[in-house]
Amino acid sequence: MANGAGPRLGEKARKTLDALRERYPTSEALLLPALHLAQEQWGGWLPDEAIEAVAGELGLAPAKVYGVVTFYDLYHQEPVGRHRIRICTNLSCALRGATEIVETVADELGVEADEVTPDGRCSFTGFECLGACDIAPMAMIDDEYHGPLTPDAVRRLIRGLE
């Protein structure tokens, strides 16, 4: 299947996966790493062709891959912004103003949660505990943690995104 005409993972992703193969006793175990790589390649989400590419690469049924994708919060089945903002809304952040941070981000971007701004720049979502209650209220912007946030601080961070 991997050599068929279907969509394929990029060369860099395939090389990374090849290096990982010897680290695991099964190729199925490469599924989470492969999905992370595919999501990077497809601009932060996993359209059907990305799922097919991963399935083909690992010799798995696309339905199985799809089932895994739907289970995990970090895999997206809809387009996301170039910058992804995840705002922690769990208790420790809620006790320090997370609701106001969510409202501020929605106001700044002019979209609701899980919508993408018309220019494709940003999308945001409320997220469960990100393991950073020491900097509550906090948010993860792309791969970086930011906190403690204020409404002004989060507006400045968003305006600084390209």
Partner: protein, 432 residues
């Protein structure tokens, strides 16, 4: 007396992120000592130390290691649990960020003790930077002969691999984690068989939390007797990282002997935020029963908290002041458990959903007296009836809301809704 940090002694010293720097701070001496010790003797030392799992369940680590069958007919694995997803918990993040080699050394010692040649570090997907820190440290450890075919010249082979999760609380559960590692949905397995017999890829597997493993080098270096005299009693031993968050002046990780009281931790954290009064606290993360302020002098250890009907869990101490509505706080946790239930077992899938809905309507002033009874029924239906402990975790705060803070629920029912509107922290600050 100030507690001399053990697990966090290298926090703030960026030098220790390399093998060379970690060695300058005394690192990897325990590994050399451990490799010169018989594996069974090492397991015995960890048993003697009384070290109990720091991930939530508090199971004795040495006993867990002892369950691994002897002999080399099948591969054995260590899966280090770095999934840290219990709300309020961030200690493992700090340990991995600041002292990755202490963690690697603990993993290596565990692997030697149970004769596992492969260690996977399952780290939550959101910890991208922490995974990078570990990968850099592991690469360095391979170069320096700490990992690979011949660990410190002992002839012992050890491979170590960071495996990133993808956002699912349930993957912190041992068998959910194994499912996820193997490339599947993180749905917990039926037990028995336990992972020590049938774990990762069908082979004997130890699963230990990051903090648990970080204790091991110190037990090997300084001996189980030294370790045992730290703490409340012989069942609650060693140093402990407490994650203080919520309404405290300086949220953060505080290391002390296990068994600190909330008052002692608050003193170190600069007291209550804005000098307000304590109303309630969760001593062990989102899964722990909420305790009222008058429990502030209870030693925060496994057995003292169990005696209070709560638990130490991951030692995530979430502090709530007098302005906090406990119905809203519990509702927030109920929403979390509803979101994170894997859906496999009906009592949990339905119970977590219903508990969020019922709390929603109580908070909105649409609840009735029958709802309190309904919550109790949901708790009874969920507790102990499912494959894993997520449903029991969801029951923790829920039951304490109706049992300990019933008057607050009554006030919602009598007054047509919440008497404590959600605070607008930043608007308040702007007005001052």
């Amino acid at each position: 007396m100030a507690f001399e940090p053990i697990l966090t002694r290298n926090v703030g010293n960026p030098d220790v992120r390399t093998v060379a720097g970690y060695r300058r701070a005394g690192g990897y001496e325990a590994l050399a000592k451990g490799l010169a010790t018989e594996p069974d003797e090492l397991i015995e030392q960890v048993k003697l130390s009384g070290l109990r799992g720091r991930g939530g369940a508090g199971f004795p680590a040495g006993v867990k290691w002892g369950f691994i069958p002897k002999g080399n007919d099948r591969p054995k694995y260590l899966v280090a649990n770095a999934d840290e997803s219990e709300p309020g918990t961030f200690k493992d993040r700090v340990l991995m960020e600041h002292d990755p080699h202490q963690f690697i050394e603990g993993c290596a010692l565990c692997c030697w003790a149970v004769q596992a040649n492969t260690c996977y570090i399952y780290i939550r997907g959101e910890y991208v930077r922490q995974a990078e820190v570990l990968e850099v440290a592991i690469a360095d450890a391979y170069r320096e002969g700490i990992l690979g075919d011949n660990v410190l010249g002992s002839g012992f082979r050890l491979e170590m691999q960071v495996h990133r999760g993808a956002g699912a609380y349930i993957c912190g559960e041992e068998t959910g984690m194994l499912e996820s590692l193997e490339g599947r949905r993180g749905q917990p397995r039926v037990k028995p068989p336990f992972p020590a017999v049938v774990g990762a890829f069908g082979c004997p597997t130890v699963i230990n939390n990051v903090e648990t493993l970080c204790n091991v080098p110190h037990i090997v270096s300084r001996g189980p007797e030294w370790f045992k005299q730290i703490g409340t009693d012989e069942r609650n031993t060693g140093p402990k990282l407490y994650c203080l968050s919520g309404h405290v002046e300086r949220p953060g990780v505080y290391e002390t002997a296990i068994g600190a009281t909330l008052d002692e931790l608050l003193e170190r954290a600069g007291g209550m935020l804005g000098g307000r009064e304590l109303k309630a606290f969760q001593p062990g993360g989102a899964s722990a029963a909420i305790l009222p302020a008058d429990k502030r002098a209870v030693p925060l250890d496994f057995d003292s908290l169990a005696a209070e009907g709560s638990m130490l869990g991951s030692a995530a101490v979430i502090v709530m002041d007098e302005t906090t509505c406990l119905v809203r706080a519990t509702r927030r946790l109920a929403a979390f458990f509803n979101h994170e239930s894997c859906g496999q077992c009906t009592p949990c899938r339905e119970g977590t959903n219903w508990s969020e809905m019922v709390l929603d309507r109580i908070e909105a002033g649409e609840g009735s007296a029958a709802d309190v009874e309904l919550i109790r029924r949901i708790c009874n239906n969920m507790g102990g009836t499912t494959l894993c402990a997520l449903a029991d975790a969801a029951v923790g705060p829920l039951r304490s809301l109706v049992d300990t803070f019933g008057d607050e629920v009554e006030a919602h029912l009598a007054g047509g809704g919440c008497p404590l509107p959600e605070r607008r922290y930043f608007e308040e600050a702007a007005r001052v």
